[in-house]
Amino acid sequence: MAFVVGGVSMAAGIGTASATTQDEPNAGATCLLPILPCEVQPSLAVPDLPIPNPLDSWSSAPTADDSWSPPPGEPEPSKKPDRPWKPADEEEHRMPQGHPETGAGGLVPEPPVWPFAAGGVALLAGAGLTGFAVRRGKGDTDAEGIAQAAHR
């Protein structure tokens, strides 16, 4: 009985798909039961598209010669020809421009940091001495002024 109903529904073009398309944004799939016709909500405009018959022919299976694309996120594989190795012919010989750039400086020691540290300390000491000299000179001037005032 089930086979008969299934065969009739298929012949009538009633599919079992539950997918939605962009053309029918709110049309929920209502044909989850394969033997019942899909319910179409009258308020929604459903385009009159042919429902694919599962018995229809489909694109042929890929053959070994077909090209394929890599999965998303994976780089395109390099296509290396299966030719045997061959040196460049004389007419293919080319003279490169400029010079080879074959060093990154890893053998060169880092410049020393101590001159900066010592120079900074010396500058601070010089500033301190200058301040001390200014204060001392000011003190001497004040003392001289006081002494002169007292002398008068």
């Binding site: 003279m95 750039e101 001159p115 010396a122 500058l123 010089g126 001497d140």
Partner: protein, 224 residues
């Protein structure tokens, strides 16, 4: 009063010394860097990346051998400086300059494939890095190679092209002798090229190139 003058003088001297020291430090940062000498063991590379080293072979020094049949070069050996490194093929970059081997692994040299094959007629060119950003690389001691020493190139047909060094030149990069390095010669020759001289910190580049010129002394076919 005299004490105050002395303090002023001391302050001036100490401040001047500070300025000079800082200037010395800045000069050291911007100036040339001289590479440190590398230990005799050569670049510190994982053993798995080293090719099996070959001993020096008994070959005539002055005789130039006939060209060998073309075969892909796979490794280079320089027994006198402890180099044994695999070879990769180098082409040209977009600007027409020779490509460089990658910095990693450091023990890797490159053969310029738009030139002669090592052992074949013409000048074969092999380049390698002097150093990486963190240490020595495959040709760190190339400048120590002397006239008469051997350079051996293993090829894919299991033959070895044994070269003998004719001379070592150090030339400024600004006047790189491209014709002498890549130009046509009528005998099987080899040129090994790396960087040399002082390091220009501003340009992030060495100022010179070290070039080893060699000729094919003998083909060698190891018995398997």
């Amino acid at each position: 009063m005299a004490g105050s003058k002395l303090i002023w003088a001391g302050a001036g001297v100490v401040s001047l010394a500070g300025v000079l020291l800082i200037g010395f430090g800045i000069n050291g940062m911007l100036g040339d860097g001289v590479p440190e000498s590398v230990a005799a063991a050569g670049p510190q590379v994982p053993h798995s990346l080293k090719a099996t080293s070959l001993p020096s072979l008994d070959v005539p020094l002055d005789k130039v051998a006939k060209p060998m049949k073309a075969a892909r070069p796979t490794a280079v050996y320089i027994p006198s400086i402890g180099v044994s490194a695999p070879l990769m093929e180098l082409g040209l970059d977009a600007g027409g300059a020779i490509q460089n081997p990658p910095f990693d692994p450091p023990n890797l040299a490159g053969w310029y494939r738009y030139g002669a094959v090592p052992g074949g007629r013409g000048a074969a060119v092999i380049t390698g890095h002097l150093d990486t950003k963190s240490g020595p690389a495959v040709f760190a001691r190339l400048k120590d190679v002397k006239r008469g020493e051997q350079v051996q190139v293993l090829r894919a047909d299991r033959s070895v092209a044994v070269f003998v060094v004719d001379r070592v030149e150090h030339t400024p990069k600004k006047s790189f002798p491209a014709k002498k390095v890549y130009g046509k010669i009528d005998y099987p020759g080899l040129r090994l090229v790396t960087c040399g001289g002082t390091f220009d910190r501003q340009a992030h580049s060495y100022r010179d190139n070290t070039i080893v010129f060699a000729h094919l002394a003998a083909p060698y076919y190891p018995k398997s």
